[in-house]
């Protein structure tokens, strides 16, 4: 049973992540009055990419991309997915937090091995952007952990369910707002699409990737979308007792993020940092203060 869960959980994340990719293209197309590609188009793209030619710049180039994807798989194993959490008792939210650092690091190793200026710029932006959203994100996560006095994700979900209301309970409202503000940055969407910025630095860290490398980077991107939304649903929206409700909640959030993505142009990296360190941080800080002051 446990083994089945271990396999099922990343697989579900993979399917949903890729579904999200297709959905986002369809959604954006409809907003722009186009018909858009079929929902399964990203899957075809990924499979096709695996059979196509590519270049490699060395061992670390290969290693980095493997590390990036592996880190995302590990995070998925630690995230509860509607009552499904194969690695619930092994370190909790802190492990997830740490693993979230590894994906950019792996990509950075890949980009570093190639001497591509666009990749270098993209990676440096990724690190800066991550530092930018990590400040409010940590405040939000600490508010949640302090509120429920645990670092276990499963216990956080359970605690929210016992508080009857499934939407973030009173002292955590501000933390929820802060997370919503930074969600596009966590997922790398507009207005925080500074890392890839296709029109400006030709997809940044992805510039040098082709074939299986690009396929793996796409899969990782799909997983990171899953992780970004799943974290919100688990921590601030009560999780779910079965995967179907969980998926529904995720879809609602995803639609919200896509609207923002469609409506806003891209910020410059320094503007992005200024925004992230100003409003979301302020709201998250007050949120944490509220949790500490109210206590129990």
């Amino acid at each position: 049973m446990q083994v089945l869960r271990l396999i099922l959980s990343p697989l579900a994340a993979l399917v949903i992540g890729i579904l999200f990719l297709g959905l986002s293209r369809k959604f954006m197309a409809r907003i722009q009055w186009r018909y858009g590609p079929p929902l399964y188009q990203p899957l075809i793209d990924i499979l096709r990419l695996f059979t196509q030619r590519s270049v490699s710049h060395g061992v670390v180039f290969d290693l980095g991309i493997i590390l990036t994807l592996a880190a995302s798989f590990v995070i998925v194993l630690f995230l509860p997915f509607g009552g499904l959490c194969p690695m619930s008792g092994s370190g909790g939210l802190l492990v997830v937090l740490y693993m979230m650092l590894l994906a950019p690091l792996g990509m950075a190793l890949t980009a570093g091995e190639s001497a591509n200026p666009n990749s270098s710029i993209g990676i440096s932006r990724w690190f800066i952007l991550a530092l930018g959203y990590e400040v409010p994100l940590l405040l939000v996560l600490l508010a949640v952990m302090t509120r429920y006095d645990t670092i276990s994700l499963v216990e956080i979900v359970a605690a929210q369910r016992s508080h009857t209301s499934s939407i973030a309970t009173f002292p955590l409202v501000l933390s929820g707002v802060a997370y919503l503000l930074i969600m596009p940055a966590v997922m790398g969407l507009r207005p925080f699409e500074v890392v890839q910025a296709p029109q400006e630095i030709s997809s940044g860290p992805m510039a040098e990737l082709g074939g299986r490398y690009l396929a793996m980077a796409t899969v990782q991107h799909a997983l990171s979308m899953f992780i970004g939304i799943s974290l919100f649903v688990n921590l601030l929206w009560g999780g779910a007792s079965n995967p179907l409700v969980f998926l529904l909640k995720m879809l609602v959030m995803f639609a919200l993020v896509l609207w923002v993505n469609a409506a806003f142009p891209r910020l410059r990296i320094d503007q992005a940092i200024r925004f992230l360190w100003r409003w979301p941080t302020f709201v998250a800080f007050v949120g944490l203060l509220l949790v500490v002051v109210i206590g129990d």
């Binding site: 590519s54 592996a70 590990v74 530092l131 600490l142």
Partner: protein, 618 residues
């Protein structure tokens, strides 16, 4: 083995090494390795034993005692192990340099003195070994001369200030209790009033805080670490500053005692909270200052200051889990920071002394083992799972969150993100990116440098996967210091306050990597092309003209620089200038001309007579 003999071997080894260097360099090298190895093995064999011997029966009326217990053993073991590796690393690094006999003798003397500090059973021998350690460290820091002399001087002045405070503390204790034996003093202090405890804490704490370089006593560390010979930088950062933490531990939990320590301070602001805030500041500022450095060793040095903040956060919290986290982080830091300094040293050695991060790059193809060492060391520093840094930081975060200090936890976690940025800068600017034209013929690190690096790499990973090994020892220490026992298993900690199961985490990581690799392997394999053969969106970049790692993360640098002036250093430098001026003013009176001195005497006497005539007070 008798502790006396152990210490004799360590000190005697230093002297003999110096004498041997006039006979043959090779014999000297072999002897130095042999001595440090023998000391390390001897200390390892002392595990689990508690014994006490008298080193000198009546030194100024106080016997000098040596004593070993769990806490002494852990520190002594780390000192001797890192010391031995550092000597091995020095072999090639120092070969052919002038005065290297002196270097080895001092390196061994520092180790002997550190061993003495950890083993001392009374405050007087602690002070004596502390002084030997400080002096020999000064000689090693300024070994290279030039700017190293200034760095050494800075260290020396700050260190002396701390030592003087400690001397006053020793006299203070001696006058009050008429004994210096640590356990007797601890017993006497348990009934002392809080004001007295404060005095003891401040006097001894100053000495230990300067040595462990916690904010605001850090300014000596960055120049000292970067100017010292690299193998000694590894010792400095790995174990020497840890002597400060050893002292703090003894001060807080042995001399003052856990309960008294936790009740020191005011209701709203207890002393241990103040220490926690100091720890947080020590993490935050140096992390971002490290980000701005362009000198490889200076970057690592600032990072050492920041990591010291984690240790102080852990040990000052006063819970069993926090102490375990702090102690484990001391051990983790000793291994991965020594490893990183060795990496910097190996690169420096092979490239002819280049430490500037902007002029290195692409060395992965030339020095693969060194790159692996740098990667493992950087992962440990960041705290990536499967390395020992992860476990220790996890324990510290967990303590902070569960004990209701989310703001301290926040600073600690943000520090980790900063760590990623500068660790990647270190990795990228030395090993990744483009290989400059003048470095195309660099050779791999020599064998004698690779051995200590590989050993340290193995330790970093081993303690990361099976943290139970060091945690068992640390748990014993906790129990001796009066903390509750932790439920330690080989793969982590099982306790009611939470579980860290490294076995599960490691398996998850390994399997995920395997799966990712399988996916990678299943795809059509790529064509291996040259590094410069890259896609630049139609705008081909001239080869060998640009260095992309230059000004890495520049937007961030521009944003944070205004906030990051080291005002503490400026304050100390201002103080130095002020002292120089005052002394200079005083010097004007001492002209060296006898007539002037006669005039002072006459003036003074006439003033006395004047006072007597007018008010007749005598």
């Amino acid at each position: 083995m008798n502790l006396n003999i152990l210490l004799m071997i360590a000190v005697g080894g230093s002297v003999v090494t110096y004498l041997l260097s006039s006979i043959s360099e090779r014999i000297r090298d072999a002897f130095a390795i042999l001595v440090t190895l023998a000391v390390a093995v001897a200390v390892a064999m002392l595990y689990g034993r508690t014994s006490e011997v008298t080193l000198w029966a009546g030194f100024l009326g106080n016997p000098l005692l040596l004593r070993i217990g769990p806490i002494s053993w852990l520190f002594a073991m780390t000192v001797s192990a890192i010391g031995c590796l550092s000597v091995v690393f020095s072999l090639k690094y120092m070969r052919g340099r002038e005065r290297n006999g002196f270097y080895y003798a001092m390196l061994l003397l520092v180790q002997a003195a550190m061993l003495g500090v950890t083993l001392s059973g009374d405050l007087l021998s602690l002070f004596i070994f502390w002084e030997i350690m400080s002096w020999s460290t000064f000689l090693l820091i300024s070994f290279n001369g030039g700017t190293a002399l200034a760095a050494g001087m800075k260290y020396f002045v700050m260190s002396i200030t701390g030592s003087l405070a400690m001397l006053v503390g020793v006299v203070f204790v001696l006058v009050s209790f008429n004994t210096l034996e640590i356990s007797t003093v601890a017993f006497a202090l348990s009934s002392a009033p809080p004001g007295y405890l404060w005095a003891v804490f401040l006097l001894f704490g100053l000495a230990f805080a300067v040595k462990s370089a916690i904010w605001p006593f850090h300014p000596w560390l960055p120049p000292a670490h970067s100017e010292a010979p690299s193998p000694f930088s590894a010792v400095l950062s790995g174990v020497l500053i840890k002597m400060g933490f050893f002292g703090l531990l003894v001060l807080m939990y042995v001399l003052i005692g856990r309960n008294d320590f936790l009740s020191l301070g005011w209701e709203v602001l207890p002393l241990h909270t103040i220490l926690g805030v100091i720890g947080a500041v020590t993490i935050l500022l140096p992390t971002f200052i490290a980000l701005l450095q362009t000198d490889a060793k200076r970057l690592l040095a600032w990072s050492t200051v920041a990591q010291a903040g984690y240790i102080i956060l852990g040990i000052s919290f006063g819970t069993a889990l926090g102490l375990a986290g702090g102690m484990l982080h001391f051990l983790s830091h000793a291994t991965f920071k020594a490893l990183l300094f060795m990496v910097a040293g190996a690169v420096e050695y092979r490239t002819g002394g280049i430490r500037d991060l902007n002029s290195l790059g692409g060395l992965i193809k030339r020095m693969p083992v060194t790159f692996a060492a740098a990667l493992v060391g950087a992962c440990g520093l960041i705290g990536v799972p499967l390395t020992n840094g992860f476990v220790s930081k996890w324990l510290i975060y967990k303590t902070l969150i569960l004990e209701g200090s989310p703001f301290l936890a926040f600073v600690a976690l943000i520090g980790t993100w900063g760590t990623i940025l500068y660790s990647y800068k270190f990795l990228h600017n030395i090993f990744l990116g483009q290989l400059p034209q003048n470095l195309t013929s660099v050779e791999p690190a020599p064998f004698s440098m690779r051995v200590p690096m590989v050993v340290l790499m193995a330790v970093v990973v081993l303690f990361g996967v099976l943290p139970g090994i060091p945690l068992t020892v640390i748990d014993e220490i906790g129990v001796t210091l009066g903390f509750s026992a932790l439920d330690v298993a080989p793969w982590g900690i099982v306790s009611e306050s939470g579980v860290v199961n490294m076995l599960n985490i490691s398996t998850a990581v390994v399997v995920s990597v395997l799966v990712a690799w399988l996916i990678f392997w299943a795809g059509k394999s790529g064509e291996r092309v040259d590094q410069a053969d890259s896609y630049a969106a139609g705008a081909a970049v001239p080869e060998g003209r640009y260095q992309y790692s230059m000004h890495f993360c520049d937007p961030l640098r521009r944003m944070v620089t205004p906030w990051l002036t080291d005002r503490v250093d400026a304050f100390y430098m201002g103080l130095t200038v002020w002292f120089t001026d005052v002394s200079d003013g005083l010097r004007r009176f001492y002209t060296g001309y006898v007539g002037h001195y006669v005039m002072y005497v006459v003036l003074f006497l006439s003033a006395l007579i004047f006072v007597e005539l007018l008010w007749s007070p005598w």
